[in-house]
């Protein structure tokens, strides 16, 4: 498989001296569904900005399908489609014009651009809004519009910077389905997100960036395999005696809830056996948090409060 994107020794120092990227190396294969994860301010958007030439790099190399952005920038750009984090379309233009003009910037003839605009607006459920100005759309519609816009020149790499931030769960899942289908058609997808469930559901490979440094770069299965402990929350039938679970680290939250840390080497069955021996009924069980989230926090430290991020976006 050809390399779709190769980044080596990428550094970025902003005016004022803030070093956003401290020499990152990254390779994304053609056809991959790749996640770039990191807490706020880790350098995800800066990395994407450099790849798409919206941010001037300080040092390092970036090549897109073998085209170095220093020497063959226009060729490199022609492979890329970008869905940025912020809404950046003309709020006063009708959707159809936004899409057709965008296709024109990539050299797509207007007649073909109109056909593609119809195709993507229909696929993303925006066709009825085609003559409305961008500002009239809801937040979720605006996100879908930016995806349609990024696809107008049929890029080989689609880069999405937090594409589902602030989008309701139903719409988020339909967007996942759409992205999966695109990936199945051969489009390489690079996704930044702080919804770790999103990365786990969609992506095959993952890089975690923190403070401008790649702290992990591997495939999703290997990454999850590194997770040594999972915390299980058990809902118990209220009883007079407090549960005792030997050989496990556990916390009694209240008279009907207990959290149990289960190591890879341990069996959940042993927890149930001990509780059954004490005549304690387990009504239900669930993972305390997303598995990837636990791993993520352990990799990037206490600065990565993802739960708070999610709550803010959904609020």
């Amino acid at each position: 498989m050809q390399n779709a994107l190769v980044i080596s020794g990428l550094k970025k120092v902003y005016k004022g001296g803030f070093q956003a990227l401290k020499g990152i190396d990254l390779t994304v294969k053609e056809g991959d569904f790749f996640a770039l994860l990191g807490p706020n301010g880790a350098g995800k958007s800066t990395t994407i900005g450099v790849i798409t030439s919206l941010v001037n790099k300080t040092a390092g190399k970036v090549s897109v399908f073998g085209h170095d952005i220093d020497h063959e920038l226009e060729d490199a750009k022609s492979y890329l489609g970008l869905v940025p984090q912020e809404f950046n379309f003309n709020q006063f233009e009708p959707l159809l014009k936004i899409l057709v003009n965008q296709a024109g910037y990539y050299g797509v003839e207007r007649s073909i651009a109109h056909q593609r605009a119809e195709k993507y607006l229909k696929q993303l459920d925006l066709w009825d809004k085609r003559n409305d100005a961008g500002r009239m759309l809801s937040g979720g519609m605006k996100r879908r519009l930016m995806i349609a816009r990024a696809l107008m020149h049929e890029p080989k790499i689609l880069i999405l910077d937090e594409p589902t931030a602030g989008v309701d769960i139903e719409l988020r899942r339909s967007m996942w389905e759409f992205l999966r289908e695109l990936n199945n058609q051969g489009v390489t997808i690079i996704l930044t997100t702080h919804y770790l469930e999103e990365a786990e559901m969609l992506c095959r490979n993952i890089a975690i960036i923190d403070s401008g440094v790649i702290v992990e770069n591997t495939d999703m299965k290997s990454l999850l395999a590194k997770l040594d402990v999972e915390t299980i929350v058990l809902d118990l039938k209220p009883c007079s005696s407090e549960p005792v679970i030997e050989g496990f680290c556990y916390r009694v939250i209240d008279d009907h809830t207990v959290e149990v840390d289960v190591k890879k080497s341990q069996r959940i069955n042993d927890v149930f056996i001990q509780l059954t021996d004490q005549n304690i009924d387990v009504l239900s069980m669930r993972n305390k948090s997303n598995r990837l989230e636990e791993l993520f926090v352990s990799l990037v430290g206490s600065g990565a409060d993802l739960t708070n991020d999610q709550n803010e976006d959904e609020g």
């Binding site: 798409t52 226009e74 750009k77 950046n88 003009n101 965008q102 024109g104 910037y105 050299g107």
Partner: protein, 257 residues
């Protein structure tokens, strides 16, 4: 392949720009028509009839080319300044920056849009002037070349203003404090030969004097400056402003982090 792609990109930017000012025609085309009509009524009909002749022509005929040129200048400039700054402010300029559009195509597209509005408003003002006076044409080619070069010059100026601008106030400062005074002192309403020698010399440092006089020559066959000098000044301004605009966009000043 890439030249065909560039041509489509250029047409797209031009289409977008022309569509923009046509969509908001009440803001872009009507005000200059009303303003210039007032100039014709006040300076041409009411005051002009008492002034008599200027440069061998009645005052109304004398000021028509200058007023047309004034409209071309202000509209070419403000179209690009407001459109490009708005694209920066809404960040939709990124649509072009991430696409394989060479910088010269971006500059040409916006300048072409500014020229289109400047020339269209110039045509509207010319039609309005026909309600007040007859227009004679001495040399149509001088008119066409002068209006094209002048609108390109000020469209480039508007682009540079928008690149540097950090707020909407910044795109009104130059037109208010520099462009308007230079236009009023640029021989629109008078022949600079009426001025004392010192102020005539000062007027020669005003580039708008050359544009207005070259344009007036195209209509009336009279000019306070030589055509060769006028076109040389215009050419020098276009080359200088184009180099500045290209350098700024290439470096990403105000556009890239």
């Amino acid at each position: 392949m890439s030249s065909a792609r560039n041509m489509i990109a250029l047409k797209s930017i031009l289409h977008k720009e022309v569509h923009r000012f046509m969509r908001i025609w009440v803001q872009t085309l009507v005000p200059p028509a009303i303003t210039i009509s007032l100039y014709f009524v006040i300076f041409g009909e009411l005051i002009g009839s008492r002034i008599g002749q200027m440069g061998g022509f009645d005052y109304m005929s004398f000021i028509v080319p200058g007023l047309i040129m004034m409209s071309v200048i202000t509209n070419s400039y403000s179209n690009v300044a407001s459109s490009f700054f708005s694209a920066k402010w809404q960040r939709n300029v990124e649509e072009m920056l991430v696409a394989p559009v060479p910088n010269w195509v971006i500059v040409a597209g916006y300048v072409g849009g500014g020229m289109s509005r400047g020339i269209l408003v110039g045509c509207i003002v010319t039609l309005i002037s026909l309600l007040f006076t007859d227009i004679q044409i001495h040399n149509v080619w001088v008119i066409i070349v002068t209006v094209a070069l002048t609108s390109a010059t000020f469209a480039l100026g508007g682009l540079i203003n928008a690149i540097f601008a950090g707020s909407f106030d910044d795109i009104s400062i130059i037109p208010t404090f520099i462009l308007t005074p230079l236009t009023y002192l640029g021989g629109v309403f008078y022949s600079i030969t009426l001025l004392p020698d010192f102020w005539q010399g000062v007027s020669h440092a005003n580039p708008i004097v050359y544009m207005v006089n070259a344009f007036r020559y195209g209509f009336l066959g009279i000019s306070d400056v030589s055509l060769t000098v006028a076109f040389s000044v215009l050419g020098a301004f276009i080359v200088t402003l184009y180099v500045i605009a290209m350098t700024l966009i290439t470096k990403g000043i105000g556009l890239r982090s």
